[in-house]
Symmetry: D2
Subunit: 306 residues, 4 copies
């Protein structure tokens, strides 16, 4: 294979204030499928177009936000290799034993300079409701609600973006697809480990470990419009959109789950290759970079995080 | 970077019977941009969303068809490595010196068991009209005609599919995304070296070196419909579509250039990862695999090639 | 009001061979809603975006086909006026008393020269699930299946098209939007009583009273593609499409209900005004007129009717 | 014919501060076609899908805004009839002789209680570039820019909405499709004379004769998104959108011409019939009625007019 090492965002674990409300939101409205619940109360979900057992995990807690984001690597050998490279770089790692999440093998965890916990793992069971392999139909069953196909990426807020960038590009083999350049340094960075325009992104923020949004991939601008119809119909709190990002070119809506965690539905985006030049946004154009049609940031973009 | 070795289909060179007619077709209707013409009469073209200098080459000749398809690799070291692996596998390679195509470095060429010439290269100049890097707009100028964004993939016809498959997966690091399984062996294979559902595909065919189609990527099903409007308006010969492939899930139209070379406009398609299982189509379902809505092959699919 | 007399296709009554299969088709797949069942076994349905109580009626019988198509007129005075004009023109009318269909007032029925029964009525109850009137949402509930918004029009086959045209334009105040002109006379006529490109159409056919298709309106070309996905998923017999009509410009799929009655999903179509010139299609261009992309009729178009 | 009396918005005449800038905007960006220029400097434009000679008129002046909006009626007899009804109602009319606009017959003009000049006319030449009548293609030439198909409707601001409503419904035969109901009376009314959800609308405003926007019809939500891409690309001042109206259900962007006149691109919208109930919006829901996704008015909506 030609895609090696870290393959994709594997799963994210978010904290929600009320699990029942959260499940109505993510299952009935966003369109994820429930996979299982663990004894400690976590609920495991996935999009209809994902082969892996789960990709989105909810945990009830007193405060919303992110527990961790994990990436799937291509092999156990890669997992060992990344562990060595992280340790050699000076990043301490711990190991979560296989089975802590149902169907998931051992995970290597570490804290990045922005204050977030990142994990890597090589093994996860295939979903019982994965896309068909023998003479597949387009979808196993008609998608529901906003028709989320997969957990696509996350945007995290925290300090030390230069260190985060160095770690992701030099140790974890990500590429810097785009960044916002200001006189005070990089305001934001978009990182990819694939042909997607981004797999994870960061915005500079004083408080570490904060969560801006988790994005679900939709198939088209039409589905983005349909998602907006659903948001108004069910009185889901919308932040901004339907609009487009200049950065990544994705078509988008930001909205909130009942606990205040921001979600995104995202369609399109260009095809990235590692020999593409990094795209640079100057401080005076960042508004158009984030919200291509509005040409300016809304107040919430830089301030509302969980 | 995490995408290593062969990155993508870099360019394809097709033979056309009348260059002026071909340029009207590919520039005014398909929407490619002309880059340059060489002294030997070749014309170099590209899609608006490609960074490389060119991706589509036309050569006037007495017979339509394909001269070669070339893949861009990530580095000169990879180029040397693939050369060694090809030779060790028993495939003879030749070297085309830098500059044989304007702006392109040395190329390693070889003939695969289906009778097609494949080339690899590591260096190509960046296009003068590449997508912007500083505060980019969505497109440099409004796309034209069918709004082709890039040369996306090709489907080739020839014998010895098992050998082709072995070469592409074991020497060139491609993955087999899907195949059609018949009692007489594999009828067709879809190979990818990226997150695209396919970068090149082959159908079993007695005569070697034949060309089925070159595909141009469009952004949406709406653009596919718009392309169909353009085909009728300008009396472009259409083969089939708008329809959808069960294989890759792409939304599609097959049509012909004035020389009889088949083109495709293609949108959508799933996101592939190398740990996805290979999808298998049985002989009795191949019709739905190729043309999801029609459920059967049209007569031209297996017989009309150049 | 400025739209006077006949307002729209009000309902159509079709015969089906198996009611359960028919209801699965029209409710679960096409997306109509069931309104009620009468003691004689008829089932009354409607699209989600219709105010009237019902618009689509199924009756179980030994043979598929059409019982009648009815138009809603703006007032009882208009109903009397049309009755007088029909009788004066030499068309015999009968009256179906109020209540023969639940919630529908008296209907005036007559046979047109193509052998079809047409009815007019002024009164029908408003649906209990009509689009909201107070602070309406876009839809009352998320549309289902192919997301049919309404019964839109029908195409009927029968003889005596000149007489049908004269009756519809001179007595019933329709306009001729388009027609196919052949050396043997009009092959087909598209008639409208509104801003829609057609409300009813006829194709010349030796056998009287035949049914070609009933069409359901969809909101977009994207919904047409989604409908095609549903057809393949549920193994619904498809005739042709997704494609486009040159005539009316509508985007379309023809398919069949389990009894063999042809359905259409239809989106787009131009906005017609009665001062628009009638569009004429010559015999050699009728293929493009019916199927704009294919440029020729398929065999079923002129021969398969119920 | 069944559509009688007033058929449609025929043309609107706007004042612009700089004709060259205005023409770049309306022709190159919005996609209208120039028809002719008159000796007094007016420029006559039309959308590609209109049969009439022109539908959009620009006049250079010191102040932006609206000169007049005119409706086409079905016949000279209707023109006389409306004149009689207006006069009997107490509205003074004047007559603009045939030829004052090139290709347009005599026009009956009057001032409505909101302070706007409205005209009626029965005769206008057919455009030389009208949609084809013999074996028509979907479009005469590929649409350009935002691909405006026609001048669709206008929203006007002024006082005396009750009187305006009475005049339009009782004298001019319009229907009230929707209105915003507040404790202080009707804030806004949407009036239709066709199957369109609105042909003209009014918002209550102290100053008479003000102009809120003229709308151009697009074919789809995809074209609305494309229009937004064009606005950012060419730095066109955008007011709000892409979004949707709860009222009419249209998909929309508000933006400004270089003189500050607001434009709208508008797609979709429900099919109206005169027997539909009038939809009522309460004061607390007007935000969602105007901007369905945002759920609230932006500051400009009620204040920025020309």
């Amino acid at each position: 294979m030609a895609l090696k090492g870290i393959l994709r965002p594997g799963f994210i674990q978010l904290r929600v204030l009320d699990m029942d409300e959260a499940l109505t939101h993510y299952i009935d409205r966003v369109g994820l499928n429930e996979v299982s619940r663990s004894d400690d109360g976590r609920v495991f979900l996935k999009g209809w177009d994902e082969f892996d057992r789960h990709s989105f995990i909810l945990r009830e807690a007193d405060q919303a936000g992110i527990d961790l984001m994990a990436f799937k690597v291509d092999s156990d050998a890669s997992l060992n290799d990344f562990t060595r490279r992280l340790n050699a770089y000076g990043v301490a790692t711990d190991e979560v034993p296989a089975g802590e999440q149902p169907g998931v093998g051992r995970r290597i965890g570490f804290t990045i300079p922005s204050g977030h916990r990142i994990e890597l793992y090589a093994d996860i069971e295939m979903s019982e409701t994965h896309p068909a392999i023998e003479n597949p139909m387009i979808w196993p069953v008609e998608p529901r609600g906003m028709k989320a196909t997969r957990f696509d990426h996350a945007l995290l807020y925290g300090p030390n973006l230069n260190e985060v960038l160095d770690l992701f590009t030099n140790v974890l083999d990500f590429s810097l697809a785009e960044y916002v350049d200001t006189p005070d340094g990089k305001l934001a960075i978009w990182l990819t480990v694939s042909n997607k325009a981004h797999d994870i992104a960061f915005v500079n923020h004083a408080e570490p470990g904060k969560f801006h949004h988790a994005a679900f991939f939709l198939e088209s601008w039409n589905d983005v419009g349909h998602a907006a119809d659903i948001m108004t119909h069910y009185n889901i709190s919308r932040d901004v959109g339907p609009t487009r990002h200049g950065i990544t070119r994705g078509q988008t809506i930001y909205f909130f789950d009942p606990s205040g965690n921001r979600n995104e539905v995202y369609a399109g985006g260009y095809t990235y290759y590692p020999d593409n030049p990094t795209r640079r946004w100057s401080a005076d154009q960042v508004g158009r970079g984030i919200f291509y049609y509005e040409g300016e940031l809304n107040e919430a973009f830089l301030s509302v995080v969980t």
